[in-house]
Structures are given as structure tokens and as C-alpha cells.
């Protein structure tokens, strides 16, 4: 197992290298430059030239990449062109916020999705099953930004229970403000993802219900809730954790809209802002971090596989 994890971690390096090269190439393939946003409309050509040289943007692209790479290998991802702050610091402030929201939203998705799936699978094609399927379709169909706005209108504007804009507070040191600020964005994303979770788990449970070991479990005289809750659930979890892992990974970089609705300080919004002003080092840094988190979560999912299913043995 340890060897397996080490081997997987070793695969990180070429992936991140290739990705960084790809990101660099893409940045230069799209038109635009960070200079304009930096100097304003009234800059003289001399000013622009001076800044271009200072930022090293006059060098050939490959030279620029090489310089960036050498620095990156020493742990220096450069400075933001816009704010002049180190890229690493900017990202470091956003990662806890993003992780906290992603985990909270996934938790909401599981708390809603699993009971819905189990209730559906216990009596497939029943009235309850159809009603719950309708609920899942609704959760998937409603755009998150719209649901977010509805929730703000209800809980912030009318009821004044929760803030309309969500700031980041660490859950460990400030639990109360952290929860009130997290509640609405986590609910928005969580309800959406619960639609995917419940559909996927229902299908997995129904698939497992026809397996021979289910008949065996019943033939032993187990209660139906133990047949489903223990025997079937554990086997259905295997494909399910894949989906949960993927959606969690997705939340790390892909919650831009929800973050915008709630003005939440996440990694996704930082990236969008960086793209807007062509802040090359920041774009590069954000994408690399999102990628690294994505790969790590996938590795965790694979490790979890071995825990769920004893047949999986990583050598």
C-alpha cells in the first residue's frame, strides 16, 4: 500500500510539469496582455516598454517558461503582476476557504442524497421512489446561481437569519460565524450535488440488490434493513465514492458562480479575477494548485477503495 501511494505520488511530478507547460502555452495562445490593466489607458509607449522589460515579457516564451519553472522548482511561484504579492501567499489564503466550502457542500449532498437513494431503492418504482426521483431531477435542473439568489432572498433579506454575503471564517477557531457564513453557499451547492449523489447511489443499490449474496443474506434470516443497510450498501459504496470524490474535486476549482453569488473568497474566484487581468503567474499558480488537489483527492478515493473492498490489493 505504501509503495502504491509513493508510486502514485511520483506520477504527480510529470503530470504537473506537463500541465504547467500546457497552461503556459494556452496563456500565450489567447490574445491580450497584463500591461494594459496594469498601467491604465494613459501610459506612454516608454512606460509600457519599461514594464514589459521589468516583468520579463520581452523574452522568448520558452525562456520565460524556463525562468518560471526554475523558480517554481525552488518553491517560488512568482509574484502576482496585479497586486505584486507572492502567488503562493494569495493562493494560501484562499485554499482553506475553498476546501471548507467544498467539504461542507459535499456533506450536505451526502446527508440529503444517501437517505433519498436508500428510500428509493427499498421500494423501486413505488410512488415514493417516483416522488424522490422528481426531487433529484429538480435539484439537478435548478441553476445554482438562481437557487443561491432565492436562498439569499429568503434567509438574508426576508428572515435576516443569515448574511447575504459570505466571508470566510475558519471553522475551528470561529465556529459560529463560520457556520452562518457557510450555510447558504454550502446548501446551494449541496442540494445540487445531492441530485447526482442520490441518482447514482440508487442505481448502484438496485444493481447490487440482484446479486447472489443478497439472496444469501435473506436466506439467513437477516432483517431487510440489515440486508440493505449492511450488505448492499457496502458494495454499492464502491462506485459511489468515485462520484463523491470527483464532485468534491470539482468543487475545488469549479464553484466560481456560487462564489460570485455569495462573494465568497474561494480559489475559483481568484482564478477568474486573475484571468480577467491576464495575471499570468497567478493563473499558472491557481490552476496548478487546483490540479494538485484534484489528483490528491483521486488518490484518496483509490486508497478508500482498498478500505471498502478487501479484494482490492495495491501492490
Amino acid at each position: 500500500m505504501i509503495a502504491y501511494i509513493l508510486r502514485r505520488l511520483a506520477q504527480f511530478i510529470p503530470v504537473l510539469l506537463l500541465a504547467s507547460l500546457g497552461i503556459w502555452a494556452m496563456i500565450y495562445a489567447v490574445p491580450g496582455s497584463p500591461i494594459g490593466a496594469l498601467v491604465g489607458e494613459n501610459a506612454t509607449p516608454e512606460q509600457i516598454a519599461a514594464i514589459t522589460i521589468r516583468l520579463g515579457l520581452d523574452q522568448p516564451i520558452l525562456v520565460q517558461y524556463w525562468r518560471w519553472l526554475l523558480a517554481a522548482l525552488h518553491g517560488d511561484l512568482g509574484h502576482s503582476i496585479q497586486s505584486r504579492e507572492p502567488v503562493l501567499d494569495l493562493i494560501a489564503t484562499r485554499i482553506p476557504a475553498t476546501l471548507q466550502l467544498g467539504l461542507a457542500a459535499t456533506l450536505v449532498g451526502l446527508l440529503v442524497g444517501i437517505p433519498v437513494a436508500v428510500a428509493s431503492a427499498l421500494k423501486p418504482n413505488s410512488l415514493l421512489d417516483r416522488a424522490l426521483s422528481g426531487w433529484s431531477a429538480l435539484a439537478l435542473g435548478v441553476p445554482t446561481f438562481w437557487l443561491g439568489i432565492l436562498l439569499i432572498l429568503l434567509f438574508a433579506v426576508h428572515l435576516h437569519w443569515l448574511p447575504s454575503a459570505s466571508a470566510y471564517f475558519p471553522l475551528i477557531s470561529d465556529p459560529i460565524p463560520a457556520l452562518t457564513n457557510l450555510a447558504l453557499p454550502a446548501l446551494t451547492l449541496g442540494l445540487y450535488i445531492s441530485g447526482i449523489f442520490s441518482r447514482f447511489l440508487r442505481a448502484a443499490l438496485l444493481g447490487e440488490l440482484h446479486a447472489d449474496y443478497v439472496r444469501t443474506a435473506r436466506s439467513k434470516g437477516l432483517r431487510e434493513r440489515d440486508v440493505i443497510g449492511r450488505h448492499v450498501m457496502r458494495n454499492a459504496m464502491l462506485p459511489f465514492v468515485t462520484i463523491v470524490g470527483l464532485s468534491l474535486a470539482n468543487f475545488i476549482g469549479g464553484t466560481v458562480i456560487t462564489e460570485a453569488v455569495f462573494t465568497y473568497p474561494g480559489l475559483g474566484r481568484l482564478l477568474i479575477q486573475a484571468i480577467g487581468v491576464r495575471d499570468y503567474p497567478l493563473i499558472q499558480g491557481c490552476i496548478l494548485f487546483i490540479l494538485a488537489i484534484y489528483i490528491t483527492i483521486n488518490l484518496l478515493v483509490d486508497v478508500l477503495y482498498a478500505y471498502i473492498d478487501p479484494r482490492i490489493d495495491y501492490h
Binding site: 436466506s219 434470516g221 432483517r223
Partner: protein, 663 residues
């Protein structure tokens, strides 16, 4: 007879669904008393498994059950769900067919054995491990205390089935229902498991319902037999009588279509046609369309026969349809040069582990096989699962690259051939796969499937196009009208005919048949075996017939090679090998085959091998068979025996201590 443990009267099971309701069980009645073994025998679709599920209340919500079932005093059909749940595990235990899937893969075996008792409140959780170990000990699982915390995939097939038996016995039920309990097991392991089941049954005095398609197993263990056909019991009686003097023509036909290792028949009798589709049963006797007695008799077409021990209008006549088998003719002596010569074939697969994927071991699937096949003859390649027989076949065919060794076909070495030459040679050598359900492309028509090899080799027009393909359909006994149908519209036996027609398309000289009848019902198996024999005679084909079923091989092969752990341990002509086996493994293999003859029961002829087949990744030293061998000496653990000719018999054997040549 004492009060029966289970009593069934007029049981009817109908499945309702989107289409027409389908009646799978049509009014059956039987009793089983304590200590008695009732064998229910029938082909697929006869309703035997549905019956077992009805007895335990495990049928799905779409099943409508009528009649009476009384199990340990419980009215199963009227009882509520909780009563049935408490009945299962306490009054009735079940053993299912495939031990690979009946256990839950994600829980330790010990926990699964005792969780029924815990659910019934008859076992405290803290005492469960000790109880599980005790139960495993009772079914002869070695080292039970360590085994209980292992997972099903760490058990071999035979050990898993023992665990399932232990599980079924855990609550001391008065009835055990075993549904094809040994069908998925190898023959030597089947013998072990049947012995364990029989011993536990004697010890617990439980009633047993044994459901199987295998008449040999029935003859071996059942006290009484119920033969099912199309949802009915067509004949019941004591096991000896059923086998000696069957009164129903179906029973007689089933017995007749069975290849046997204790008889030598030129040709198997077959039951014509297919088992009936339950949705399209004719009136009268449902066996009439396939029956030799009822064809011309009006009463068989109009009135369903009453069941009084036998459901037939003419019960006295069935025995007359049992033929005296005509002995097969002596095989002609091999002449000329062999068509195929394999010398010292080895196929090895690396095992890679660790951080750098270094090769840490080798699976020796085939380790030094030599064999020859002459034109027009059949070489039977037999052995249990994992012995390398399929890998050998695939390596000869070029589907797997051999690690080393020589394969000569018609005098030409295949090994170093360039691609084009290999393709041309492939025409002469074709393969028929085991599973007729997955080896045919479901989105092609039968005609396209059979024509495909012709198109691949660019010979479709040259060989005669569609007319030629139609001729192939004639040849394998499929109506030409079926050429435009898709595989799902065919039965298993018909699909295998398509597979054979496809293999014949390029007019090969050699067919490699990999378990071609293993997935088929007995009556259909006989049809395919006869077809293969006819084709061989008409076309002069040579066959390599790969199989685990020694009776089928006995029927079809001229010469037989027995494989164990990647090596051929014995090879001889059929008569010599079956009558005077030299290798202890061959001897135990033959003794483990259940004979469809209750009179041969007991008698001490059976050698039950200890243990399981070792992994080809870690074969034992010396003779690979020595840890299980009853004749092994210290020499066997160190020296690999040479594969050499026997002094007096026309056999080759790899053994330091071969059996006496006298039978």
C-alpha cells in the same frame, strides 16, 4: 414415514410482469422427511430453483404463489414477512450454486457464517468468532480460527462452498436446500464437498432437498428423486428404481443422453428439440413434442397426464426406449505424420509488484507441454480449473504468445512466421469458445457472424458467398431461415451451432474446442457432441477437445491427455487411460466422477484428494501433485518426474510411483 419436515401440495408459481403471466411451477407436490435426501433433477427452465425459492418465501414481489407449503409447521404461503424471516436460518438453511458470488465479498467469512444466528438472537455477538470457527471446523476447513477473519476471495472455491454449508447449518435447521451446490466446482473438489454435505446431514439428521441437473450427483447422494420438466414433477421414486427402471420417457431419455465413463457407446441418444418455453406450452402432456411414445397418440395431445408417481399416459413403455448402447469402433491407427506437433510449450506471465514494478514472480500457466494431433483424430485435453488447458489451446491458436517451445502445424514451424503467413495458416486452425452467450457479437446476424471469417480473409466471393454460408447452416443443423436472426433469438445449443459453423467456414483441418458443451443442458449437450462427431467423420477434421468433464471426453476423444498445474501428467489412448490409469491424479480424477448409477454408490472406489489445486504462481517443488498425492515419497518433493513411456502400456506418464498397470 414420520411427519415430514416439509410438505408441498399443488404448488403453483406464476410470475406477473409487463408481458403475459408466466407459470414456472405448475402444481407440484412432495414431502421430505427428517434425515432424507430428496433430489430434484431437471434442465434449465424446469422450475426447480423457483420451487426452492418458493419454499423459503424468497420469491420476488412479482411472483404469485398458490397451493400449500408447510415447512416445520409454518404455512409458508400465508405467513407474514417476519415469520418467514425467523423461519429462514432457524428452520431452513440454503446452499447456492456459485460460491464465488453467494458470499458477500466485503465482509469476513466468519462474520457471514454467524450473522444469521445473531439476527435470530440465538448467539451473542461476543461469542460469534468462536462459534464461526467451530462451524468451519465441522466442515473440515483447516485452521478455522485464522480463516474466520479472512475474506471470501482468500478462500478457494471448495473452501467457500464449505463455508456456505457451515453458514446454512449454523442455526441447526431441520431442512437444507442445496441448489446446484457443486456445479461450479471441479470434480475432485465436488467429491470433497459432497462428502462434507452428506456427513453433516447424517450428523444433524436434517432433511435435504438437493437440486441439480447432474444425474451423477443425484445417484450419488439422493434417497428419492423427483424429475421436473416444464414446471411439473413428471416422475418420483426411490433413487435406485428411477435409474434402473425409469417409467417416464423424459427420465429415460435424460439417462440415455448422458455420456458415461462406465460405458462405451458409439453415439449418444438425444432428446430432439428444445426444452419448452413456459409461455408457449401446448395442451396435453408438455413433453409430447419431444417424446418417442406420444407423437402419434391423441390422448397425449389432449389430456395432461395425472401424476401418480409418474406423469405419463403410458408409463410402462419408457423402459423399452432405453437402447443397448452400440460399442464404439476401435480408432484407426495413426498413419502418416501428425497435423500438429507441440514440443515443450511454455507460457509464463510475469507478476510485477512494488514501487518500480519489478518482476517478483512468474505464473507458469503452461510449463513444458508436448502433444501431437493426427489428421482426423480427437485429442481430449482434460484437467481441473487452472491446470493450463485453455492457455495451451490459445497458445497453439496464436491468441497468446508462448514464452518458449515449438508448435509445428502440417510440418511448418508457426513460431517465427511472418504476419501474412500466420494469417493464411490460421485458416486451417479454428477455435470454438466455451460460452455461446458471450462469444457471438450481439449486434450481428447469425449469417454475418458465420460469414465474418470469410470476409476477414477476403474469401467470401471465392468460396461461394451467401450460398456457401447457407450450406454451413445446413451442415450444423440450423434452418437457413435463421441466418437473418440475432444471437439473442437463439437458444444456448443453437448458439453453439453458430459458433461451430463460424469455425468451419474456412474449411479448417484442426478445430480447438474449448469446453464447447460445458454451458449446455444435458439433452442439448448430447446433440452438440453428436454433431461434432458427424462433422469429424464427414470432413476428416482433427479436434483438440478441451474439457473438465471426463465423461464427455470419454465419449468423444480417441486419445486423452490429463493436465495438472501446467503439465501433462498422463497421456494414452482412451481405452487404456480410462481402464488402467497410471498416474495417481488420473486415478483420483476418474474416481471422483459421480456415476449415474446408484448401485455403484459407496463400494470404496472413490479416492478423495486432500486440499486444493495449488496456485500456478507457487507450484510445489518436484512433482507438482505430490502434496495431494496418496503415493508420494520424499523423492517426489525434490525431483520432477520425467514424462516417459510406460513399460507395458501404450501410455506416457510423469510419475515416480505409477499405479499398478493391472486395473
Amino acid at each position: 414415514m414420520a411427519v415430514p419436515v416439509v410438505s408441498v401440495r399443488g404448488l403453483e408459481v406464476t410470475f406477473v410482469g409487463a408481458g403475459r403471466p408466466l407459470t414456472a411451477v405448475r402444481g407440484i407436490s412432495f414431502d421430505v422427511a427428517a434425515g432424507e435426501v430428496l433430489g430434484i433433477v431437471g434442465e434449465s427452465g424446469s422450475g426447480k430453483s423457483v420451487t426452492s425459492l418458493a419454499l423459503t418465501g424468497l420469491l420476488g414481489p412479482n411472483a404469485r404463489v398458490r397451493g400449500q407449503i408447510s415447512l416445520a409447521g409454518i404455512d409458508v404461503i400465508a405467513a407474514d414477512a417476519e415469520t418467514l424471516r425467523l423461519m429462514r436460518g432457524r428452520d431452513v438453511g440454503m446452499v447456492f450454486q456459485d460460491p464465488a458470488t453467494t458470499l458477500n465479498p466485503v465482509f469476513p467469512v466468519g462474520r457471514q457464517i454467524t450473522e444469521g444466528q445473531i439476527a435470530h438472537g440465538t448467539l451473542r455477538p461476543e461469542r460469534a468468532p468462536a462459534r464461526a470457527a467451530a462451524l468451519l471446523r465441522e466442515v473440515d476447513v483447516p485452521d478455522p480460527a485464522a480463516r474466520i477473519s479472512q475474506f471470501p476471495h482468500q478462500f478457494s472455491g471448495g473452501m467457500r462452498q464449505r463455508a456456505v454449508i457451515a453458514m446454512a447449518m449454523a442455526g441447526h435447521p431441520r431442512l437444507i436446500i442445496a441448489d446446484e451446490p457443486t456445479t461450479a466446482l471441479d470434480v475432485t473438489v465436488q467429491a470433497q464437498v459432497l462428502a462434507v454435505l452428506a456427513r453433516r446431514q447424517r450428523e444433524t439428521k436434517a432433511a435435504v432437498i438437493l437440486i441439480t441437473h447432474d444425474l451423477g450427483v443425484i445417484a450419488e447422494v439422493a434417497d428419492r428423486v423427483a424429475v421436473m420438466y416444464a414446471g411439473r414433477i413428471v416422475e418420483t421414486g426411490p433413487v435406485a428404481e428411477i435409474f434402473r427402471a425409469p417409467r417416464h420417457p423424459y427420465t429415460a431419455a435424460l439417462l440415455r443422453s448422458l455420456p458415461r465413463i462406465d460405458a462405451d457407446e458409439a453415439r449418444l441418444s438425444t432428446i430432439p428439440g428444445q426444452p419448452p418455453h413456459l409461455g408457449r406450452l401446448a395442451g396435453g402432456c408438455s413433453f409430447r413434442p419431444r417424446c418417442p411414445l406420444g407423437q402419434a397418440r391423441d390422448i397425449c395431445a389432449s389430456d395432461p397426464p395425472e401424476h401418480d408417481g409418474v406423469a405419463c399416459h403410458f408409463p410402462g413403455e419408457a423402459l423399452a426406449t432405453l437402447p443397448r448402447p452400440a460399442p464404439s469402433k476401435k480408432p484407426e491407427a495413426q498413419t502418416g505424420s501428425p497435423l500438429l506437433e507441440v514440443a515443450d510449450l511454455r507460457v509464463e506471465f510475469p507478476i510485477r509488484t512494488g514501487l518500480l514494478r519489478r518482476q517478483s514472480g512468474t505464473v507458469r500457466a503452461v510449463s513444458g507441454v508436448s502433444l501431437s494431433v493426427w489428421p482426423g483424430e480427437t485429442l481430449g485435453l482434460v484437467g481441473e480449473s487452472g491446470c493450463g488447458k485453455t492457455t495451451t489451446g490459445r497458445a497453439i491458436m496464436g491468441l497468446i504468445r508462448p514464452t518458449s517451445g515449438s508448435i509445428r502445424f502440417a510440418g511448418q514451424e508457426i513460431g517465427g512466421l511472418p504476419r501474412g503467413a500466420m494469417r493464411r495458416l490460421r485458416r486451417d486452425m479454428q477455435y470454438v469458445f466455451q460460452d455461446p452467450y458471450s462469444s457471438l457479437n450481439p449486434i450481428r446476424t447469425a449469417g454475418e457472424i458465420v460469414a465474418e471469417p470469410l470476409r476477414i480473409h477476403g474469401l467470401h466471393a471465392e468460396m461461394g458467398g451467401d450460398a456457401y454460408v447457407a450450406g454451413l447452416f445446413d451442415r450444423v443443423g440450423l434452418p437457413r431461415a435463421t441466418m437473418s436472426r440475432f444471437p439473442r433469438e437463439f437458444s444456448g445449443g443453437q448458439r453453439q451451432r453458430i459458433g461451430i459453423a463460424r469455425a468451419l467456414a474456412l474449411q479448417p483441418k484442426l478445430l480447438i474446442l474449448d469446453e464447447p458443451v460445458a454451458a449446455l443442458d444435458v439433452s442439448i449437450q448430447a446433440q452438440i457432441v453428436n454433431l461434432l462427431k458427424d462433422l469429424q467423420r464427414e470432413l476428416g477434421l482433427a479436434y483438440i477437445f478441451i474439457a473438465h468433464d471426463l465423461a464427455v471426453v470419454h465419449h468423444i476423444a480417441d486419445r486423452v491427455a490429463v493436465m495438472y498445474l501446467g503439465r501433462i501428467v498422463e497421456e494414452s489412448d482412451k481405452a487404456t487411460l480410462y481402464a488402467r490409469p497410471l498416474h495417481p491424479y488420473t486415478r483420483s480424477l476418474l474416481s471422483a466422477v459421480p456415476l449415474p448409477d446408484p448401485a455403484a454408490r459407496g463400494g470404496g472406489r472413490r479416492i478423495i484428494l486432500e486440499g486444493d489445486i495449488p496456485s500456478p504462481a507457487r507450484p510445489p517443488s518436484g512433482c507438482a501433485f505430490h502434496p495431494r498425492c496418496f503415493r508420494a515419497s520424499p523423492l517426489c518433493a525434490t525431483d520432477v518426474p520425467a514424462f516417459a513411456a510406460h513399460a507395458t502400456l501404450p501410455s506416457l506418464v510423469a510419475c515416480h510411483h505409477p499405479m499398478e498397470a493391472a486395473p
